[in-house]
Assembly symmetry: C2
Homo-oligomer: 119 residues x 2
């Protein structure tokens, strides 16, 4: 099944989870087609200065894979700078945040998958 | 958990699944950290003219999300051209192939997830 870019669901979130600015999620795979594997399959875009607030995952886990831009992430209380090609895994029970600290849009793949090993 | 680009597993496959040329998979999430949700989380790269042969998925499904380049995909017998931002879903029991028909490398996110609804 083909899903064209122009037909994808695009959701804009302001101050998402207590963050700043604007997050835009382009849903390249919709949940109803994910066969119970997860609940988010998107390309995320944060404009310069925008962020997603610090939050905890319960029952699922999230992976970010940076495509472009410069990210400051907090991984369970520790800050890291991520560049394109880097990834961060927030396990079931762990916490994270992400902020665009660069001059250009920050784009990354975000996947929230269910923890089937600890369901 | 941070996984730097330089520390990711990179696997090169020649004539993958009966295809042509070279496929390079960069594993941004390793299976042992995927909590049973799936078995492949990669950025794939096909050089111009390279392809993955037509094959069927059983028990899992695969989603491609095109990042750059121009792809010819076959989705259960029908050809489509995909551009950056497009995606293709190969459901459990369906078949697909992909070929780089452009002049530049074809890069895309490939996810193979388990079909939990029909396990």
């Amino acid at each position: 099944m083909i899903l064209r870019s122009k037909d994808m669901k695009v959701l804009v979130h302001n101050e998402f989870l207590g963050g700043k600015g604007q997050l835009t999620n382009t849903h390249f795979l919709n949940n109803e087609n994910a066969c119970g594997s997860g609940r988010l399959f998107v390309k995320s875009m944060l404009t310069p200065g925008s962020s997603i607030g610090y939050h905890t995952h319960k029952g699922d886990f999230e992976n970010y894979y940076i495509l472009s831009g410069k990210a400051l992430v907090n991984d369970n209380g520790t800050d890291y700078i991520l560049e394109p090609g880097d990834s961060i895994l927030c396990r079931n029970g762990d916490s994270h945040s992400i902020e665009n600290i660069g001059d250009t849009n920050l784009e990354y793949i975000a996947l929230i998958l269910f923890d089937k090993d600890n369901a």
